[in-house]
Symmetry: C2
Subunit: 222 residues, 2 copies
DNA sequence: TGCGCTTGATTGGGATACCAAATTGGGATA
DNA sequence: TATCCCAATTTGGTATCCCAATCAAGCGCA
């Protein structure tokens, strides 16, 4: 695999897992020595990460994208029409094999699964549902939104009761799509998105300061 | 301005205006000599254009993104929920100054305006409406979709009667937002998106072969 | 004549050298 | 002691150079 992809994947992983603190400054030369590779693949990886919104420019410098808590509401507002449309389309276009793959994904990741696994598959579930729509733009836009939501979702998954509720909601949505009940499936995913938003906002009250104590750059917290 | 931005802007302009044929192969070394700059900024510009979906990789090579006519339907499917949501939010959040700016934009670009101007402002209108929603994710996703639609829209604007219909629809949408009539505004923009899609699909029958004759790489045309 | 191999040119990926701007740190001065 | 200024360092931006993989053309052999 190309060195650029290696650097890209490792940085992406470290950013999403919060190993790299939001707002942390990245220097091309620092990464060059850290990964023992030259600046050429480092720069290419940073440019791709910038396209995904995971790193920003701050003047001439690179920084890990800060946590923008005000985005929680905006992302829910964005997901709502997209995902309801996706499940509606899924009810007409879905293929049995795809549904089974998603069901297996859910089975493999019960609420008591390891936290990282749960976290990753929670994102994957929504993207897989979007894929059922057969619309690549919907899938891609949702995937981007889920990436932006990924880091703040560490709040949600810290609570096992929340995870159980989310798992049940996921299961319900899948069942309704299987029944081709578009109206109910739309309502279920809309409720799930809204409730996820509210869970995050509630958890936020407790954890914002704890995040700040880690040195994370947080904006939009008012 | 940095050389990378210069190359990025020029390539982007040439791709969107169809000066560079869809599917055309781009070599880093060719661009290097063409712009009389080194490969470093050329490569950075290509990476950014790849993020916007305007150039693709074909094996190790770079190619101008081919025209994907099957995207016309997918883009309409994507815009419909996004833009109806945007106008609904706009009806509650819009600011008078922003509305006036959009009205001026419309006035400055009547259907008999120069074709390039009309084409560009047609895109800008929808993005400006999306901005009224106050949701940055909606705005960005829609801007990306409009970029992907930009090149096939050369079909629509070739017909002055079509431009007049589109202009009237734009005007109507703005008026309804001004009245804060969310339901009617949603219906109007939904109809506009659907009709634009159908106009493009109809024009396509005539122009597909003409495009192909230009050497454009076209996919999804069935 | 047709098939296949060799070889040379071209490609993108990577490494490195150089530059100008920006930053920083310390020392001189008030 | 606080402040200002200048030099050394560090930064991203750019230009080249090298390399391995790929592609093509041309040559030779059957």
């Amino acid at each position: 695999m190309s060195q650029m992809i290696q650097i890209f994947d490792r940085l992406r992983e470290e950013i999403l897992s919060l190993s790299l603190a939001p707002g942390e400054k990245l220097t091309e030369r620092g990464l060059e020595t850290r990964f023992a590779m030259s600046r050429t693949p480092v720069r290419a990886a940073l440019l791709r990460l910038e396209g995904e919104g995971l790193v920003h420019r701050q003047g001439r410098n690179w920084v890990v994208a800060p946590l923008d808590l005000s985005e929680i509401i905006a992302i829910a507002e964005f997901r709502l029409p997209l995902e309801t449309t996706a499940v509606r389309l899924a009810c007409t276009r879905r293929v049995e094999a795809d549904l089974n793959a998603i069901a297996n994904m859910l089975e493999a990741c019960r609420p008591n699964a390891p936290r990282e696994e749960w976290h990753r598959l929670g994102t994957e579930f929504h993207i897989a549902i979007a894929k059922l729509s057969g619309n690549a733009l919907i899938t891609k836009a949702l995937a981007e939104a889920m990436v932006r939501l990924h880091r703040v979702r560490w709040l949600e998954v810290s609570d096992e009761a929340s995870r159980e509720r989310a798992w049940n909601e996921h299961h319900e949505i899948l069942t309704l799509i299987r029944k081709r009940d578009a109206a109910a499936a739309e309502a279920a995913i809309a409720a799930h998105i809204t409730e996820t938003r509210d869970r995050l906002l509630a958890a936020l009250q407790d954890d914002r300061e704890r995040f700040r104590a880690h040195g994370f750059k947080i904006i939009g917290a008012d």
